[in-house]
């Protein structure tokens, strides 16, 4: 399938295109459900059962277990829905940024501040 995202990749960037949307539907649907506090609690009470309920595949389930954002993106996750998953663990966007770039949070922050100089 032809998409603009395959023509000219942007380094370190996965555009949420048709391929990602198809691959990640179950994972994103589960993360969308975390808008509800009741669902967040149900996930924390029994993660495996909750993932089965939403039909996550093994790649998606492994990425959820690992709390690994890059793996979640590789499994079709969309940033906006994944943010709701991160919210369960009270991670902010700088925690997420640090994890994905392999930096400490302090170093990640310093990089952002430097971008403003």
């Amino acid at each position: 399938m032809s998409t603009c995202t395959e023509e000219k990749p942007i380094p370190g960037t996965t555009l949420f295109d048709a391929n990602q949307a198809r691959k990640g539907y179950a994972l994103n649907k589960m993360c969308f459900s975390f808008n509800s506090e009741e669902n967040r609690k149900a996930f924390l009470a029994d993660e495996e059962a909750y993932m089965r309920k939403y039909g996550l595949n093994e790649q998606q389930a492994a990425a959820i277990r690992a709390r690994n954002v890059l793996q979640l993106i590789a499994a079709g996750g969309n940033a906006y829905y994944l943010a709701k998953f991160a919210g369960i663990f009270h991670l902010d966007m700088q925690d997420i940024g640090a994890q994905q770039t392999g930096m400490t949070k302090e170093a990640f922050r310093a990089k952002l501040v430097a971008a403003g100089q």
Binding site: T5, F16, A18, N28, F32, S36, Y80, A83, G116
Partner: protein, 283 residues
């Protein structure tokens, strides 16, 4: 006919909601961002719009991938905020402006923008935070018509198309049979990227050029494809589409003549290059 008095723009990072809730506006981290707003509030206090049309992008509160509209126009008597999953305070509902909603919908479809219409619509932080930033005290004094533009799932609408949408919305506002004063708001941006190894990407030079273009050369950014905009501004920086829609609406109001009332640009809040801007139409 209604009068389109100007356009406002602001970033909408969720953490702003927490900062307002905790009263952190004067903390060193937050002050450079919040300092952008008093001049804009002064202008609003003087010019008193009755209604705002809000261009924003939903982040997975109202819309999921089961049904993902490119352009959706609210036509609800009121708009409710709700739990978004990360613990920012939920705000009380905002009043809609049904006559203008339907007039915009009728005008847009007539102009071949085949929009989705929503008589019920949850609005997320991207719609609520600008209202709280521009009118921090008491009840929100304006009614709202939210217009949601997809930035979640590609393909996104092109910059050129979004600018044209904004222009059509501006024409609808100007032809609305009402004595009310209307302002348009852009919620989002500027450059930022939350996801991938490129997380933390910010492009100050491009942002500043874009902000300048809104005054003097509003169609400048329509030369870029969405892919190029992501490359220049980050995966979420593409929210600058909201600003183009806002500016498109003003172009219809006063030729392309606008006057900059106030502007502010600050890096970073969270992972984002932030901006606050007010442009007034010049007759």
């Amino acid at each position: 006919m209604a009068k389109l008095i100007g356009g406002l723009g602001t970033s909408h990072i969720p953490a702003i909601g927490g900062a307002i809730h905790k009263g952190l506006q004067n903390e060193p981290y937050w002050k450079p961002f919040f300092d952008g707003f008093p001049p804009i509030r002064d202008w609003l206090a003087k010019n008193k719009p009755d209604v705002v049309v809000m261009f924003y992008n939903d982040h997975g509160l109202n819309f999921f991938l089961d049904k993902m509209p490119t352009f959706a126009v609210g036509a609800a008597p009121e708009y409710h905020n709700a739990d978004e999953g990360w613990g920012i305070p939920t705000l009380p509902p905002f009043k809609g402006e049904l006559d203008l909603s339907w007039h915009i919908i009728n005008t847009l479809v007539e102009k071949e923008f085949d929009v989705v219409t929503c008589q019920e619509m949850l609005v997320d932080h991207a719609c609520t935070l600008p209202l709280k930033l521009f009118w921090p005290e008491g009840d929100c004094p304006v009614t709202v018509v939210p217009i949601c533009i997809n930035t979640v799932q590609f393909p996104l609408p092109s910059a050129k198309r979004v600018y044209a949408l904004g222009k059509a919305v501006g024409e609808a506002i100007k032809s609305w049979d009402s004595k009310k004063k209307v302002a348009v708001i852009a919620s989002g941006g500027l450059s930022h990227q939350l996801d991938g190894e490129r997380a933390g990407f910010i492009n100050k030079a491009f942002d500043l050029k874009f902000l300048d273009s809104l005054e003097s050369n509003p169609e400048w950014a329509t030369q870029f494809s969405v892919h190029e905009l992501v490359e220049q501004t980050g995966t979420q920086g593409v929210e600058l589409l909201m600003w183009l829609a806002m500016r498109g609406a003003l172009g219809a109001a006063g030729g392309s003549r606008v006057r900059r009332v106030s502007g502010n640009y600050h890096i970073p809040i969270s992972n984002t290059a932030t901006a606050a801007l007010a442009l007034e139409t010049v007759d």
